[in-house]
Structures are given as structure tokens and as C-alpha cells.
């Protein structure tokens, strides 16, 4: 898969750091900074396989260390596979 680093990566990083700093410090976040942060994070949002396409095969450990893949995760009618940012934050 092509590596698709945006040209404005450094500028985006500065916005994200400032947003994160204010939030962590409990300082108010101006609406404009918040909007820039959201736009920076969601720029060129890609969403992966389309309906009708197959998902890639995968094998990943679960919270108990067991290796899991689609055949043992799926129910009889399918699997809702959720990709989210982080459990920790």
C-alpha cells in the first residue's frame, strides 16, 4: 500500500499538539482551534473495503491473549467489526 504522508504533516502535528496541550491543562479550546484539529485529523478520511468487497484476512490477539480471526469471531449472521482510536483515551 502506498505510503501517503501529507505535505502539511508538521503543521497538522502542531495543531494536534496545541489542542492536546490545552485539553490536558484544562484550558478552554477556541472553536477555531477545535475545528482545525478535527479537520486535520479527518483529512482525506479513507474508509477501507466497500460493501461487496472482502475484508483482508487477519489474525490478532484478544484481551486474553488468544489469537482470533474471522471464522471464530463471526456469528451465524456475521460480525460487526469496529475500528476505533484507542481504548486508553
Amino acid at each position: 500500500m502506498a505510503y501517503d504522508v501529507p505535505e502539511d504533516l508538521a503543521e497538522k502535528a502542531a495543531i494536534m499538539k496545541e489542542f492536546g496541550r490545552r485539553r490536558a491543562a484544562g484550558e478552554p479550546v477556541p472553536a477555531e482551534l477545535y475545528a482545525r484539529h478535527v479537520n486535520a485529523t479527518n483529512d482525506r478520511y479513507t474508509t477501507g473495503p466497500e460493501p461487496g468487497a472482502r475484508i483482508p484476512d487477519f489474525v490478532l490477539p484478544d484481551q486474553n491473549g488468544a489469537l482470533r480471526s474471522l471464522p471464530d469471531l463471526t456469528g451465524s449472521n456475521g460480525l460487526l467489526l469496529v475500528f476505533h482510536r484507542s481504548a486508553e483515551w
Partner: protein, 248 residues
């Protein structure tokens, strides 16, 4: 849950996921994609986040409904991460199931009984949650769909609550019924029917228990008599989870 199971993928380590599952009592698999390899192979790696930032390696959030053979049947995503569709909202929309501890309220008014509930008991600020409304009418009574002349009141559920910044509640298509005593043909609902909706929560919201204030409007009529229109207020509790930003 109608034969569909759930699994969640994140870039967290297995240790973090184990702690998270224990803390929140999560029974479904939390999969550790710690080097973001699977995230990359799905084509959803978020390249906007520079190496060195705590969030480096996260995906663009997407939910896939996958058939047992691996084919994507539906895909859910909202480009603004503050307005992500919750997994439980997906379950409600697709499968009509709600989590056991989700809030619900039952309103009774003569011939009409309405059960209104949320898809989950907890949500984050800025998320979209689902709502259902199960209506049940005694025989020979009906309520109105839309549009109706302004002498009648159509059926609606609305939230006049600043914590909800966007809402959409839809009822099924009403049946056109000729009502001889009124000399009109009007869209009506009879018997049992169900509406569904989605509510977009404001961001930010303080963590803790909140009450969402809504109003059910309707007018009950039989083949011989119409009651006065009603506007019944109700509240649904919801726990807002704390939103924690990365600290470094």
C-alpha cells in the same frame, strides 16, 4: 443478538485491552493491532498523525458489518470523529436489539401505550445514539401521521434539549384511512407500529448522568370521537462517559 457478534480493533496493547475490558465489563473480543498492520491492510491508517504523537498508528474510525464469509455487507463511518455512530446504535438500527441496561420509559394515555427507549445506557459527548418508540393502540383507535390539516395533530417525538444538537425521529408510512364521521381521508396509524430515530449529543458535555427531555405529541381518535391533542413530556437518563485526551 440475531446471530451477529461484535469485535473491536484498536492499536492498544493486549495489556491495555485486558485492563479496559475488566474495568468496563466488556465481554466481546477486543483485538490488539499493536503495530497497526491490520489497520494498514484495511486501508484506513490515519496518515495525518505524525510519528511521535501519541495517536500515531490509529485508524480512521470505521465499522464494518461483515458476512461470515468475509464480505462487507454494510459500512458505517462519520468523518467527524466527535460524531461517531456508536456500535450499539448500529445494532439497534440493523437488528432491533438494545443493551439490557439502556433507558426506557412507558407512556400510557387511554387507548395508546408508547415505549420509548435509547440504544444504550452510556455514550460519549458528541456521539450519535439511537432511539426507538414502540406504539400500541387499542382496537378502533388511531393516531395521525403527516401531513394532516391543522385541525388535527400528527404523531411526533421531539427533544427540546440543548444537549441534543441534531435529531431525526421517523415513523413508518401511515395508512390512508377514510373517516366517514369526519368526512376526511387522513394518514393514520393503528394497532402496533415502531418508530426509530437518532440523536446527536452536544460536545463537550460533562461526564455523569444526564436526563434527555423529550415530548410525545399525538391525537387519539376512534371511529366516533376525537380526543384533545396531547403533548406528553418524558425524560430518558443517559450516562456520559468521561472523554480523555492523550496527555503527551
Amino acid at each position: 443478538m440475531n446471530g451477529v457478534r461484535i469485535a473491536a480493533v484498536s492499536y492498544d496493547s493486549q495489556a491495555v485491552l485486558k485492563e479496559f475490558a475488566a474495568k468496563f465489563g466488556i465481554g466481546y473480543p477486543l483485538l490488539s493491532d499493536h503495530d497497526s498492520g491490520v489497520i494498514r491492510r484495511f486501508g484506513i491508517f490515519n496518515f495525518n498523525i505524525a510519528p511521535g504523537l501519541r495517536a500515531y498508528g490509529v485508524p480512521h474510525p470505521v465499522n464494518y458489518l461483515v458476512a461470515p464469509d468475509g464480505m462487507v455487507t454494510r459500512k458505517y463511518y462519520v468523518p467527524n470523529y466527535q460524531h461517531r455512530v456508536t456500535a450499539s446504535a448500529v445494532v439497534l438500527r440493523e437488528f432491533g436489539a438494545v443493551s439490557e441496561d439502556a433507558a426506557q420509559v412507558t407512556l400510557r394515555n387511554g387507548a395508546l401505550t408508547v415505549e420509548i427507549g435509547l440504544s444504550s445506557a452510556k455514550a460519549f459527548a458528541g456521539q450519535e445514539i439511537s432511539l426507538y418508540a414502540k406504539f400500541s393502540l387499542e382496537p378502533k383507535w388511531h393516531v395521525y401521521g403527516a401531513p394532516v390539516p391543522n385541525t388535527y395533530t400528527s404523531t411526533s417525538i421531539t427533544f427540546d434539549d440543548p444537549k441534543i444538537i441534531s435529531q431525526s425521529v421517523t415513523l413508518p408510512e401511515a395508512r390512508l384511512m377514510e373517516i366517514p364521521v369526519l368526512g376526511e381521508t387522513l394518514p393514520v396509524y393503528e394497532g402496533t407500529f415502531q418508530g426509530q430515530g437518532s440523536l446527536l449529543l452536544k460536545f463537550p458535555l460533562d461526564a455523569g448522568r444526564i436526563m434527555l427531555a423529550g415530548r410525545l405529541r399525538f391525537q387519539l381518535c376512534s371511529d366516533t370521537v376525537c380526543e384533545a391533542p396531547e403533548a406528553v413530556a418524558f425524560e430518558l437518563p443517559l450516562t456520559i462517559e468521561p472523554f480523555m485526551m492523550p496527555t503527551k
